[in-house]
Each structure stands twice: as structure tokens, then as C-alpha cells.
């Protein structure tokens, strides 16, 4: 009886398992095998041994990695840039969303929004070209049309680290503000307009209404997005830190992040062990951060938690 029952059940559900199968196989290959491949961090990779059977070397890759100056540098840069992106990104997104929301007339709002959103469609390669057209030492716009006419010596930006934190932050905001303000804009539209009318009757200024009504209504979203961003604080946009500075060696102090370090190590077989160790470091710390932040989000607003 139970045997035929099981058979009926399998027959009934078999088509569904078949539908899920391509996805299951893909995640196994793309995600689960690489998770096992983290073992590379504890090996000295050889072609013969491959990923899983190369000689084990214990923690020596980590010892080399963390005794080098690179480990501190890339960790500092990754976290510092992300913190600035989180703080400035949130402020700029809210301000832009507010300006768009308060604008009279739908057409101007639509036009501005369309323009501000456009850069997010461009690949970071194209963005690198745009940055290069502005900053290039010999042919760039800033040197030829601003600095030289003003009688200032041209700057060779791609070998001057001191400018790059500002450039990278600017480029990030330039590309991402359009997408990050959309959610705040949606939030603002959902605020009860009666609140503003009451405030206006009480003689509240626009600034007071912004501080006392708009911002408090956005707080749950701000907190949620910030926590989720903190969960990704060990990850960086590889293209922004590698392509936009055009892989310039002179800028490495301010452009090296964990992702660029891992890639550079991977391309240089002599450093594969350290690269694998850095990758392991990023994966594990990233996982811990995601678990902690998801736990926090779950406490604050259940529907925004990932699980």
C-alpha cells in the first residue's frame, strides 16, 4: 500500500522536480562547487592535484597574507569606501528624491529623473572612458580647458593618489544616485499628505516639515537599507576600483580593495595562495556580516529580511 502510495506521489511530483533540475544543477556548479573550492586557501595549488587534491599547507597562506601590508590596506580601503558610500549615498539619494517629489508638474520631474537614472545603465567600462575623457593627463578636459587657461600646471591624475578617493566617491554617486533615490521617492509618495497640510496650517516651514515629517517617515527604509549595505561591506565594485583608475599602479594605495587584490593575485600564479586566502577571508567575514545584519533586519522589519 505505502509502496504504491509513494509511487503515485513520485509520479505526481516528478514533472516539478524536472522543472527545478536545470536551476539545481546550475547552483551546484556555480555556487556549491566553489564553496568546496574554498579549500584552495589551505593548499599550495598544483596543476596535477587540482582544486581538491593539491598539497595541504595549513594556514601558511593566511600567515603570508596577514603579515603583508596588503591585508590591512585592502581591508581599510574596502570598509572605508563602503562607509562613505553608505553615508553620502543615503544623504544624496534622500535629497534628490525630496527635490523630485516636491517639484510641481509631472513633466519636469520625469525629465530630471530620466536623466539622473541614465548613468546606471552604462557599464563601468563606458564610465571609465567618460572619466578618462575628463581626467586624462594630456588630452583630458580638466587640464586643457580649466587648469591651463587658469594658468595652473596640468595634473597627471592617473599618478596622483590624493585625488582618487574624491574621484571614486564622485563616480559612484554619479552612477548610483538615480537608482538609489527611486525607493525613497516611492516612500515619500506613500506619506499621508494630511500630515503636511496640518503642519502647514500650524505655520511650519518647509524645512520643519522635512525634518519632522518626511525624515521620520523614511527612517525604517533608511535603517533597513543601511543594515543591508553593512552586510555587504566586505565587497566592492571591482570595476570601479580596477577599471576606472585604469589599473594604475601609482594609485594602488587608494584603489586596492579585497576584490582587486584577489583578481590581481589570481592573474599572477605565484600569488595564487594568498589570493585564495584573501578570497576565503572575504567569503567568511562576509557570511558572518550577512547573518548578523539579516538578524537585525528581521527584528526591525520582518518583510525586508532575506529569510
Amino acid at each position: 500500500m505505502s509502496k504504491t502510495n509513494a509511487f503515485v506521489k513520485i509520479k505526481k511530483y516528478f514533472p516539478f522536480y524536472l522543472m527545478a533540475l536545470p536551476g539545481i544543477i546550475y547552483f551546484f556548479i556555480n555556487s556549491y562547487i566553489p564553496m568546496g573550492g574554498l579549500i584552495l586557501a589551505f593548499e599550495k595549488y598544483t596543476v596535477k592535484g587540482g582544486i581538491f587534491r593539491s598539497p595541504k599547507v595549513g594556514l601558511s597562506n593566511f600567515k603570508f597574507l596577514f603579515s603583508s601590508a596588503d591585508a590591512w590596506l585592502m581591508t581599510r580601503n574596502t570598509i572605508a569606501y563602503n562607509l562613505v558610500f553608505i553615508v553620502l549615498g543615503t544623504v544624496v539619494a534622500i535629497v534628490v528624491a525630496y527635490l523630485l517629489h516636491e517639484l510641481k508638474g509631472n513633466l519636469p520631474r520625469k525629465i530630471y529623473q530620466t536623466i539622473i537614472l541614465f548613468p546606471s545603465l552604462l557599464s563601468i567600462i563606458i564610465v571609465s572612458y567618460l572619466v578618462n575623457a575628463v581626467l586624462a593627463g594630456d588630452t583630458g578636459f580638466i587640464n586643457n580647458y580649466i587648469l591651463i587657461p587658469l594658468g595652473i600646471d596640468p595634473i597627471s591624475f592617473y599618478s596622483e593618489p590624493k585625488f582618487w578617493p574624491f574621484i571614486l566617491i564622485f563616480v559612484h554617486l554619479w552612477q548610483m544616485t538615480g537608482t538609489s533615490c527611486i525607493l525613497y521617492l516611492a516612500n515619500m509618495s506613500a506619506i499621508d499628505s494630511g500630515l503636511y497640510e496640518a503642519a502647514s496650517l500650524d505655520g511650519a516651514s518647509r524645512w520643519h516639515a522635512f525634518i519632522n515629517i518626511t525624515i521620520p517617515c523614511l527612517v525604517p527604509t533608511i535603517i533597513t537599507l543601511t543594515i543591508l549595505a553593512v552586510g555587504k561591506i566586505f565587497n566592492s565594485d571591482f570595476g570601479l576600483f580596477y577599471q576606472v583608475p585604469m589599473n594604475s599602479g601609482a594609485l594602488i594605495d587608494v584603489t586596492q580593495t579585497i576584490d582587486t587584490y584577489v583578481y590581481r593575485g589570481l592573474m599572477n600564479t605565484a600569488n595564487l595562495g594568498m589570493s585564495a586566502a584573501a578570497c576565503f577571508y572575504q567569503s567568511v567575514v562576509g557570511f558572518i556580516l550577512v547573518m548578523i545584519t539579516n538578524h537585525l533586519v528581521k527584528k526591525l522589519s520582518k518583510e525586508n529580511a532575506m529569510f
Partner: protein, 294 residues
């Protein structure tokens, strides 16, 4: 606050126009650079108002085969990748909504866990190269990292749960339709909005992808538009080197390398500019649905 609103409106317009100018300026500069005479670029740099309008750069790139081939690769990868990805994503998402499916919790966790933990670049690269020998094949542009994302599965599953009534499916079963028939002939047609949204996000991802080319492709046969641009970013001479064969050595000196780079960047950007008004709606929907969890 309504009384002194004029001042605020003016301020808002000024600030937003300023932002618009910041966005448009570098793009316009790039376009102008691509139609400047090479000698002017060398002499005066990239200018918004070129002294001589000159389409030589475009003549060069369109008379040479690389750009057509790169476009072909990009279009093939984008179309095949997007269609295959949407089918695989919707199928597994649908499975996760089947009532009473044994093992559904496990499957759900199996998908979700890939969002929480990942092996990262080194193990992924090593396994794609050494176990699946994907280097310098078209598969390298389709599969690693971008093919199916757990996040898209999650939002598609939510859409199915909220928009596909089980009763319709049940009555179709009564009529003797197979499960695959139900999925392709009933579930998918009822899910056009979510298919448009994730399909568009996927197409954009494939169109703009350059990382897989960087990691896995050295063969000129599989160079996409983004890869071509990337190669020229780090090596100004990239295209002229590949032109060697088709042009005589004497013509080499006359190749406007600076202008060509900008022209190719414009050609790479053009489809976005032209199509943007048509897909902006889906794009914004995708961003709103993905904003929190993305």
C-alpha cells in the same frame, strides 16, 4: 510652506539642472571627442566644441570587421542568455510554489543559501576553468556568475504566489493538461509583468558584462563589445594592432587611435540611449522590486 514655495521651486530646479548637467556633460564630451579631428584632440584635448568635425574615426571602425563581430557576439549572448535564464528562473520559482511538494523547504534553502555565502572569485574561476574547461568558449560569456540569480527566483516566486490562483491550475489539470503544458501555456502567459522585469534586468546584465570576458576570454573570436572597449581602454593600440593584417603598414600612422576609442565607446553606448525611453518603465519596476533586497 506653500506661501514661499516659489523660492523652493527655483532652488529645486537649479539643483536638478546642475545634476543633469553633471550627468550629460561627460557623455556629450565623449560624443564630441568621437567626431573631432585627431590632430585637434592631440593639440587641444577633448573639447565640447571641436574645431573641425571629422568622422574619420567612424569610417575606420565601420570599415574594419571587429566592431560588427563584437556586436554579433554581444547580441547572441544577450538574447540566448536572457531567454534561457528566464526559462530556468521561472521553472524553479514555479516549483517553489507547488503546494505540498516534498522537499520544498530544502530546495528553498538550497537556493537562498547561495545569496548568503559564496566561494568567491578564486574557487569559482578555478572550478569553471579546470573542471568545466570553459575558457575561450562562448559558454564563458553565458554561465559563470550571471546566468541565474537566487534573488530573481525569490521575487518571481513571490509574484507567482500572489498572482496565479491555484484553482485555475487545478481545473487545467482536470482537463488533462500536463504539468509542463500548464506551466508554459497558463503560468507564463499570466506572468508577463515579472518576466518583462527580470528579463530586462538580465538582458542589461548580459549587455554590460565585461568581467566574464576579462576572466575567461583571450580568443579574439569571442570578444564582445564591452570586451573590445575594455581591451582598448588599457591598450590604445589594440584595434590598430588587429588592423595590421587588413591595412598596409603605411596607413598605420594615420589611424586616429584616440578618436577611434571614443567612437567605439559611443557605438557601445548608443543602443542604451536609443532604447532607454522604451524600457524605462520596466527598468524602474525592476529597481523598486529589487531595491531593498537587491
Amino acid at each position: 510652506m506653500v506661501k514661499n514655495d516659489r523660492g523652493f521651486q527655483i532652488l529645486a530646479h537649479v539643483l536638478l539642472i546642475l545634476m543633469g548637467v553633471l550627468v550629460v556633460f561627460p557623455i556629450l564630451l565623449l560624443v564630441m571627442a568621437s567626431i573631432s579631428a585627431e590632430s585637434d584632440i592631440i593639440k587641444y584635448g577633448y573639447s565640447l566644441f571641436p574645431k573641425h568635425i571629422d568622422f574619420t574615426s567612424y569610417n575606420f571602425i565601420f570599415s574594419e570587421g571587429s566592431i560588427y563581430h563584437a556586436y554579433l557576439i554581444t547580441v547572441i549572448v544577450t538574447v540566448i542568455g536572457t531567454v534561457a535564464s528566464v526559462i530556468v528562473t521561472t521553472m524553479i520559482s514555479y516549483t517553489l510554489t507547488v503546494p505540498g511538494l516534498p522537499g520544498k523547504q530544502i530546495l528553498s534553502f538550497y537556493v537562498l543559501f547561495t545569496m548568503l555565502f559564496s566561494g568567491g572569485l578564486v574557487p569559482s574561476y578555478m572550478s569553471w576553468c579546470n573542471l568545466f574547461h570553459i575558457k575561450n568558449t562562448i559558454w564563458a560569456l553565458l554561465f559563470p556568475f550571471i546566468f541565474v540569480s537566487a534573488f530573481h527566483i525569490m521575487i518571481t516566486r513571490t509574484y507567482f504566489q500572489n498572482n496565479i490562483p491555484q484553482e485555475i491550475l487545478e481545473s487545467a489539470r482536470m482537463d488533462g493538461l500536463s504539468e509542463f503544458g500548464i506551466f508554459f501555456r497558463m503560468v507564463l502567459p499570466l506572468s508577463k509583468p515579472i518576466i518583462a522585469t527580470i528579463g530586462f534586468m538580465k538582458a542589461l546584465m548580459y549587455w554590460n558584462d565585461w568581467k566574464n570576458s576579462l576572466y575567461f576570454v583571450t580568443d579574439k573570436q569571442y570578444v564582445s563589445v564591452q570586451a573590445l572597449l575594455n581591451n582598448m581602454l588599457t591598450n590604445v593600440q589594440y584595434l590598430s594592432q588587429s588592423m595590421d593584417a587588413s591595412l598596409g603598414a603605411t596607413d598605420m600612422v594615420n589611424i586616429p587611435t584616440l578618436g577611434i576609442r571614443m567612437a567605439i565607446a559611443v557605438v557601445g553606448m548608443l543602443p542604451m540611449i536609443v532604447l532607454y525611453p522604451f524600457f524605462q518603465k520596466y527598468y524602474m519596476e525592476g529597481l523598486t522590486v529589487g531595491a531593498v533586497k537587491g
